[in-house]
C-alpha cells in the first residue's frame, strides 16, 4: 500500500490558475493567534433536525427522555441525509420550531436538550486500525456519525465516500485553502490537530483508493503548512501550497488550481474523477472511525470588532450564538449585525438566538466601521470589473440585466447556475450593485418555476387519468346495461316462446 514512502512534500507540483479572483483584506490574524478553547457548557442546546443538505433527520427521542452524550437523537432519512447525536448528556425538553441559522430567518424543527452537567458518554466503539475495517464498514461508521461537510455546504460526507458511478477516483483533494477573510477555524485546527486531519484523509483514501492524495492550502498559513508537512511524513499525501487568492477554496477553483481540470457546467468534481473534502470533515471522520465519536461539536471562529476575545472555540452543536458570544466579550450595543459565515458568502442572522450547527464555521460580529453597510446602489457603468473578477468566467453584467428584467430563460442561457455565489461581483462593483443578490433571487425564482411546472404536469397527468377512468366506468356501465337489456330481451323471448309452446301443447292436449 505504502508505495510512496519517500516524502512527496518536497516534490514541486505544477500549479494552475483560475481566472478572476480578488485579494480582499484577509483579517485572519485577529483570530488565529489564540489556541482553540473549549466553550463552556451552555444552559440549553437547540439542535435543528436539518443541519445538512438533503432531507431532514427523523427525531428518535421524546420529551422528557434522558439521553447520553453521543446518543443518536435523530436518524438520517433517505440517501442524502445525516443523523444527529446528543452533544452532551441531559434531558430532552421538547421538539419544536426555533429560529435557525438560515438566510430566511425562519424557524425549523429542533430538538431542545437541557444538559445535566455530567457530560456522560454513551458506549463508543473505538478502532485502533482502520485497515481492519472494510471500506463499507467505514462508510457505515461515517454515516452513523452524522458527518456533513464542515466547510460550509454541509453535504453528507458518507455520500462523498462512494466512488462516482463505480469509477476510479483520480485525485482526492483535502481543501485547506480557507480563502474567505476572517475565518481561521481550519487554520487553527490544522496547527493543533494536524495528525487528526491527516488520519482522516488516510481513512478517506483507504475507502476511495484515489490515484493521488493532495492537501491544498493557501500560503498565508505558514504554521499550518509546517504542521501538515510534519504530519504527512511517511504517507502518500502531498501538501501543496497555493497562492492566496479569493476564492481558491471554492471546490471548482481548487480542482482547477491543483489538477488543471475544469468541472463542466452543471457537473460536480466527482464527475471528472476528483473528490474534495474539507479538513474539518477529515478530522471528524478520523474521530468517528478511531474513537467512534459522532459529530457533536465543531470549531467555530468568533471574530469581528464587537467580540473582545477573538479566536476559535470548540463548541457543542446546538449552542445558542448569543450565549456563545456573551462568553467571549460581545458588545451588542456596538454591533449592528451578526454574520454567520464570512464577510463574502455569509448572511446576516435575523436573530442571534439561533444555534451553532455543523456548518457554522464562523460567527462574525463586525462594527459599523469595520464592515460598513452597502452604500446606495448606482447605475451600472459597464466598467466590466465584475466580469474580470468572476472566478466562474460568467458575464455578471448580462446576468444582472436578465435577472432584473426577469428574463430568467436568458439568464439560464448565460449559465446562471454556474455562479458559485462567491460575492466577488458585488464586492468589486464601483456602483455598489448587489449583483450576487440578484443572482440568488433569480436562481430561486427559476427553481420555483420549475417546481410549479412539475406540479402542473403532475396535475395534468392525474386529471387525464381521472378522465380516462371516468370514461371507462361510463363505458363499462353502458356495456353492462346493454348486456342486461339483451339478457332481459332474451329471457323475454324465451318466456314468450315457452308460453306459446305451452299454449300449443295445451291446445294439442285438448
Amino acid at each position: 500500500m505504502n508505495s510512496a514512502l519517500s516524502p512527496t512534500a518536497t516534490r514541486k507540483r505544477k500549479l494552475y490558475e483560475f481566472s478572476g479572483g480578488i485579494h480582499p483584506q484577509e483579517m485572519k490574524s485577529v483570530s488565529n493567534q489564540r489556541a482553540i478553547v473549549t466553550a463552556p457548557m451552555p444552559p440549553k442546546l437547540i439542535l435543528p433536525l436539518q443541519q445538512h443538505i438533503g432531507s431532514p433527520g427523523k427525531a428518535l427521542v421524546e420529551p422528557g427522555q434522558h439521553v447520553l452524550k453521543g446518543q443518536k437523537i435523530a436518524e438520517a432519512q433517505g440517501r442524502i441525509s445525516a443523523s444527529l447525536h446528543a452533544p452532551t448528556s441531559g434531558t430532552i425538553k421538547g421538539l419544536q420550531d426555533f429560529p435557525v441559522a438560515h438566510p430566511s430567518g425562519m424557524s425549523d424543527l429542533c430538538i431542545e436538550l437541557i444538559p445535566d452537567g455530567k457530560d456522560q458518554w454513551c458506549d463508543l466503539t473505538a478502532c485502533e486500525h482502520y485497515e481492519h475495517l472494510s471500506p463499507s464498514e467505514i462508510q457505515a461508521k461515517v454515516r452513523e456519525a452524522g458527518i456533513a461537510g464542515m466547510g460550509g455546504a454541509g453535504f453528507p460526507t458518507e455520500v462523498k465516500l462512494h466512488p462516482p458511478h463505480n469509477d476510479k477516483v483520480a485525485t482526492l483533494i483535502l481543501n485547506a485553502a480557507e480563502c474567505e477573510p476572517y475565518i481561521t477555524a481550519d487554520d487553527r485546527l490544522i496547527r493543533e490537530r494536524a495528525h487528526e486531519v491527516v488520519g482522516g484523509m488516510e481513512i478517506m483514501a483507504y475507502v476511495l483508493q484515489p490515484g493521488e492524495c493532495v492537501i491544498g492550502i493557501e500560503d498565508n498559513k505558514p504554521e499550518a503548512i509546517a504542521a501538515l508537512q510534519d504530519a504527512v511524513k511517511n504517507t502518500r499525501i502531498e501538501v501543496v501550497v497555493i497562492p492566496s487568492k479569493y476564492p481558491s477554496g471554492g471546490e471548482k477553483q481548487l480542482v482547477k488550481i491543483l489538477t488543471d481540470k475544469e468541472v463542466p457546467s452543471g457537473k460536480i468534481p466527482a464527475d471528472i474523477g476528483v473528490m474534495c473534502q474539507n479538513v474539518g470533515t477529515a478530522a471528524a471522520v478520523y474521530r468517528a472511525v478511531r474513537f467512534g465519536e459522532p459529530l457533536i461539536s465543531r470549531i467555530t471562529t468568533l471574530t469581528g470588532d464587537c467580540v473582545e476575545q477573538k479566536g476559535n472555540v470548540e463548541v457543542l452543536l446546538g449552542t445558542p450564538v448569543d450565549w456563545l458570544l456573551a462568553q467571549y466579550g460581545y458588545h451588542p450595543d456596538r454591533s449592528r449585525r451578526v454574520i454567520a459565515g464570512g464577510p463574502m458568502m455569509g448572511f446576516t442572522l435575523d436573530s442571534t438566538q439561533v444555534p451553532i450547527v455543523k456548518t457554522s464555521n464562523c460567527i462574525l460580529a463586525p462594527s459599523e466601521t469595520e464592515l460598513p453597510l452597502a452604500s446606495h446602489t448606482q447605475a451600472c457603468i459597464r466598467c466590466s470589473q465584475c466580469a474580470d473578477a468572476c472566478p466562474a468566467e460568467l458575464l455578471p453584467q448580462q446576468l444582472y440585466w436578465f435577472a432584473r428584467a426577469q428574463e430568467y430563460d436568458k439568464a439560464e442561457h448565460h449559465n446562471l447556475f454556474d455562479c458559485i455565489e462567491c460575492g466577488i461581483c458585488s464586492y468589486v462593483c464601483p456602483s455598489s450593485i448587489p449583483l450576487v443578490q440578484y443572482y440568488r433571487h433569480a436562481k430561486g425564482q427559476i427553481k420555483q418555476q420549475r417546481l410549479g411546472q412539475q406540479k402542473s404536469d403532475q396535475a395534468r397527468i392525474r386529471f387525464e387519468s381521472r378522465q380516462r377512468r371516468l370514461e371507462q366506468e361510463k363505458e363499462q356501465k353502458a356495456a353492462k346495461r346493454k348486456a342486461r337489456a339483451e339478457a332481459a330481451a332474451k329471457a323475454q323471448a324465451k318466456k314468450k316462446a315457452s308460453e306459446t309452446q305451452a299454449q300449443a301443447d295445451t291446445g294439442e292436449n285438448t
Binding site: 485579494h23 480582499p24 483584506q25 436539518q50 435557525v100 438560515h102 438566510p103 430566511s104 425562519m106 424557524s107 425549523d108 449585525r337 454574520i339 464577510p343 463574502m344 458568502m345 455569509g346 448572511f347 446576516t348 469595520e370 464592515l371 460598513p372 453597510l373 452597502a374 446606495h376 446602489t377 460575492g423 466577488i424 458585488s426 464586492y427 455598489s432 448587489p434 450576487v436 443578490q437 440578484y438 440568488r440 433571487h441 436562481k443 430561486g444 425564482q445 427553481k447 420555483q448 418555476q449 417546481l451 410549479g452 406540479k455 402542473s456 404536469d457 403532475q458 396535475a459 395534468r460 392525474r462 386529471f463 387519468s465 381521472r466
Partner: protein, 195 residues
Amino acid sequence: MSVITTAILALLALAVSFGAILGFAAVRFKVEGNPIVDQIDSLLPQTQCGQCGHPGCRPYAQAIADGEDINKCPPGGEATIQALADLLDVEPQPLDAEHGEEKPKQVAVIREEECIGCTKCIQACPIDAILGSAKHMHTVIESECTGCDLCVEPCPVDCIDMLPLAQGIQSWHWSVPRKHIIASDKTHSPEVSAS
C-alpha cells in the same frame, strides 16, 4: 398566340405538380391534433378549476388556439399571461377580473372531525387528490392539491377550508435585493483601496 399558350401551359404544369407535392405532403406529414394546443396547455397551471368558463385547462387551451383571450386564467395570473403572450406573439393583457383574481397559492384542508363522509368532494376533485370512502372521514393529499376550490362548494357541511400554502424554510428563496443588504458588503478600509 403560341407564346401565350406556352406560358399558360407551363404555369398550369407547375401548378399541377406543386399541387400534387403539397397534397402529398398534407397526407404524408399530417400532424395528429393541434400542437399549439399542447403548447398552450403546458403553460396553463392545470388546476382544472373552470374559472375561465371552460371545463378544464385543455378546453381553454383549445379555445385560445381558436382565438379566445389569453387573460382568463386567475390561478396562472400575470406569469401565465406573459408566457402565453410570448408563445403566441400577442400583446399581454391584464387579467380579466370577471373570471377572478390572482390569489396566493392555496391548498384545501378538510376539518376532519366535521366531515360526514358524503364523498361529494371526492367526486368534485378533478385530480383525485381527496382520499376517503362513504361514511368515513376524507382527507386532502396536500402535495397533489392544486387549490382549485372545486371541492368547497359541494360540501354539505362546509368543512373544507382553502388555506394559503405555508412557505416553509425548504421552499424559501432570496427576494429581490433591497437597498441595504448584507453579505459581500465592501470593506472601505484604506488598505483595500490602496491595493
